[in-house]
């Protein structure tokens, strides 16, 4: 069981900055994120795109913002559970919470801060009517264990980096690899596109474009997919696996069932005070919350995180006296023993 003061759901910019504000109050944080890397949307959707409204940064790339935040919170030694989705929450007798992920990792903390953005990123599933009944029976939306495809016939659908990269990778593992895409053009990295072209020329990748997988056939397991190609009659292609790789989309997911008040796909919070939800001890900050006048901006998330940490401190240490101190005055004492502080004034006599 992982224990901490503040358990943060979501490692986007708001969640990361929470670690800093909590650290100033000597509170430790642990973050859970469904994505394999920190940064949330900034890393997953638009790492190379500029942001212009981060105070004091006339322009900063979303990926660089993530890197800077990671640097800023380093001395507060945050813990991370990445690639796992927070699934359930249970209130304990002592008032704390236990949050369990889809992989069974358990976390215990007196405070839970949901900084989940638009939700956890889930694979986008193509609208094929019977696809759900083949999930984990030959249909996989992400490749976890490449060995599963050893000496099998595999059909991959999609036109982005993951479709290209996995097609390339699986040529060495699978019996056959077929890549189906709706266009002749691919938007992946140029190297990958060239490599797929080579493998196609060598007969190692069967490329079907422009085409779409319209259906799945099989009894208890995928036995084939129905390929629909423009101006041709649909046909069935024999395969053991069908892997649709159409990227990720955020879904609010299990958090919606935690008993929190939800409005417009967001969690209602008390913005007059501390961004607490209807469940005391659970806060929601950043894009995931809503209140009158809410703006989904990173800079608003930073503000919300700051106020939330003050409230969290009072909940954890109700009897401790505390007044907010400027970092310029108090410096920054890391949990790793480092200290940052303003240089002392130099006094020298003039003779």
């Amino acid at each position: 069981m992982i224990t901490t003061h503040i358990l943060i759901i979501g490692a986007g910019p708001t969640g990361l900055f929470t670690v800093f504000e909590a650290g100033l109050l000597k509170l430790r944080c642990h973050l859970i994120d469904a994505l394999p890397q920190p940064g949330g949307q900034c890393s997953e959707i638009y790492p190379k795109k500029p942001i212009y409204d981060i105070p004091a940064y006339p322009e900063i790339l979303a990926g660089d913002l993530t890197d800077k935040l990671m640097e800023q919170i380093k001395q507060f030694e945050p813990g991370f559970t990445l690639g796992e989705r927070a699934d359930t929450i249970e209130k304990q007798e002592d008032g704390s919470f236990v949050v369990t992920t889809n992989k069974g990792t358990q976390h215990k903390a007196p405070i839970v801060a949901i900084a989940g953005g638009l939700g956890s990123f889930e694979p986008r599933k193509p609208p094929i009517p019977n696809i759900a009944s083949f999930e984990d029976k030959g249909v996989e939306y992400m490749i976890r264990e490449p060995e599963l495809y050893r000496d099998k016939d595999v059909v991959i659908a999609g036109g982005g980096d993951s479709a290209l990269d996995w097609s390339i990778f699986l040529t060495d593992v699978a019996k056959s690899v077929t890549l189906v895409h709706r266009r002749n053009e691919f938007r992946g990295a140029l190297d990958s596109v060239d490599r797929v072209q080579e493998l196609k020329n060598e007969g190692k990748i069967n490329l079907i474009t422009p085409a779409e997988v319209k259906g799945i056939v099989g009894k208890n397991h995928v036995e084939g997919v129905i390929i629909s190609k423009k101006d041709e009659e649909d046909y069935t292609l024999k395969t053991d696996h069908f892997i649709p790789l159409f990227g990720l989309a955020p879904k609010l997911g299990p958090i919606a069932n935690w008993g929190l008040e939800i409005e417009k796909n967001a969690i209602k919070v008390n913005n007059a005070l501390d961004y607490q939800t209807n469940i005391p001890g659970i806060y929601a900050i950043g894009d995931v919350n809503t209140y009158p006048g809410k703006l989904k901006l990173i800079l608003c998330g930073f503000h919300e995180a700051t106020l939330m940490c003050q409230s969290a401190f009072q909940r954890i240490f109700p009897d401790k006296k505390y007044v907010m101190k400027y970092t310029t005055v108090g410096g920054v004492d890391g949990f790793d023993g480092t200290r940052k502080e303003a240089p002392k004034a130099v006094v020298k006599k003039i003779e």
Binding site: K49, R124, P127, G159, G160, A249, P250, K264
Partner: protein
């Protein structure tokens, strides 16, 4: 206001809305849909208008001349679901005076 244009937007439940949209606020079609709350928050404009999620996909029903499909939009539509010949991403369609009377239907959520 004179600068307003009228748009006919069919929502995901098939309900037709006739709405006014300003041409002087640098708004795009996705933002107009959001401003009138014709689709629930969180189900449209998820990426904020970067042509990177296709949650604002719509079908253009009238024969208005629209800005050409850019590279980003084209590549996103190549991977989106429920795509038809007349599919566009609402976030890539800026509201201009020429769009008066434009008719669109929101594509299903996916």
């Amino acid at each position: 206001m004179e600068q307003d244009v009228t748009l006919k937007i069919t929502d995901r439940d098939g309900v037709l809305h006739e709405v006014k949209a300003p041409t002087d606020m640098a708004m795009n079609l996705m933002e107009v849909v959001r401003s009138y709350e014709l689709a629930p928050e969180g189900t449209i404009g998820v990426c904020g208008g970067m042509a990177m999620c296709a949650s604002c996909q719509c079908y253009v029903k009238s024969d208005h001349e629209l800005p050409e499909i850019g590279m980003d939009e084209d590549m996103m539509l190549a991977e989106a679901f429920h795509v038809q010949e007349n599919s566009r991403l609402g976030c890539q369609i800026q509201i201009t005076p020429e769009m008066n009377g434009l008719e669109v239907e929101l594509a299903p959520e996916s």
